[in-house]
Amino acid sequence: MIRFDNVSKRYPGGFEALTNISLELEDGAMAFLTGHSGAGKSTLLKLIAIIERATRGQVFVDGQNVSRIRRRRIPFIRRKIGFIFQNHHLLFDRTVFDNVALPLIIAGYRHQEVGRRARAALDKVGLLSKERLYPITLSGGEQQRVGIARAVVNKPLLLLADEPTGNLDPELSREIMDLFALFNQVGVTVLIASHDIALIEQLDYPVITLDHGRLLHTVRASA
């Protein structure tokens, strides 16, 4: 699902965030991406979501070389990816339902289909009863779950999460991780960037460790 071939990323100004990264995450795998802050976790996720482009090497997502992809094709790659952010990135002027339905509307689903799928996703994260509320009225954990519902509503092949439990207490964090595991069980490839070592160690998944932009050991995560 994800493959990095000798990828380096140097930002304008000369800072090299990633150096010579090679890794592979097979279809249906789930792995953690960890390292100290500034180790390059976010940059690695950004290369997958084509928010940044590799300076050297190649990044493949679902078999497509995204480091060379044309700009106008980027949206179609991103529709295969569900992205979960630490600060949720919810739209606060829309209801929970409208937030979750947005990817479906973007992808052009029919009206009835949008309602059905969005409610199914909300049901999965246990927030169906709150579909009419505005995100601002929800707790941090609930907001994160809305973010997750939005990320999975489109049935993406790949889930990327950048510090999804950053602001949550351990119990809520565990709940969120269990949710990811649930999606992984139905075949979604999951990659979670986190520096919550204690939590990661509780779970039995491959760990990709970055240190100053370098991979500590070569990784091949399979399902």
Binding site: A49, I51, E52, Q58, F60, D62, G63, Q64, N65, R68, R72, R73, P75, F76, I77, R78, R79, I81, F83, H89, L90, L91, D93, L102, P103, I105, I106, A107, G108, Y109, R110, H111, R150, N154
Partner: protein, 328 residues
Amino acid sequence: MNRARSNRRRSPHHWSESLRRRLSPRTWLLRHAQVAFDSLGRLYRSWVSSLMTTAVLGIALAMPTGMYLLLDNLDRLSGSWDGQASLSVFLKAGVAETAAATLAGQVRSWPEIAEVTLITPAEALEEFGQHSGFADVLGALDENPLPVVLLVTPGPGHSDPQSAGALLQKFRALPETELAQLDLQWVQRLAAMLDIARRSVMVIGALLALAVLLVVGNTIRLEIQNRREEIVVTKLIGATNSFIRRPFLYSGIWYGVLGAGVAWLIVEISFWLLAGPVQHLAGLYQSNFALQTLPLQLLLLLLGSGIVLGLLGSWLAVGRHLSAIEPS
């Protein structure tokens, strides 16, 4: 490298897959209607600023529309004389009516003449008395002071200003002529002035159209800045540029439509205020001339201009500012 290339070859399949789920025409229309309605709702939610923008657009659109309409009315007023050049030839006081009739007969045979009407002093006096209300005063005169007049209509091909001018010279050269004048002159002068005014309206109209474009563009630019976060999020979720562009373009269209509506109101109210005084003035000239308000064609043109300018303005803003917003 080889593997990379083979992967690339696979990609068209993937694109067609994502394209196949493209919308059916019905869903597409529904989606557009939804976005259009949503954009209107957004304008309504911030109705104070929307109202102010719309008022500015309305005034900018009303100015050229109103001026054009005013000119159109003047044009209509002068139109009834347009092209019908005629010459009034006043004969010397000593020329008798019989001599005048002979002269009229001669003139009638000139090739450039279509018609000659002889107005005797008695006829002229009667007409003057009727129209001026001085009939009683005129009756008190011992003798008719009015001369014999020949009303000359040039034939087809001789009523343009140059030929009519030549004809005028020919009449002035006749020994019987006291005074010959071209009645077309003031119409021509008015037409020339109207031409200048029309050109000015065009210039002003173009400038105000540019103003509408800039106002809409700037409003949409602010809107884009306000919704920056939303644009970033939708881009991350996989929205295409056209999806992101759409609500802003509809906002531009709505601004155009609402601006045109306000302009229409302004013009109608102004003309309604003018109608009374104009009718009074026309009454003084014994004319039943009445101001014509916006005809349907002009109304549609106004609406069309509003839509096109609004769309164009938002398009410019969107083109310049949307591509600059990328997730980071």
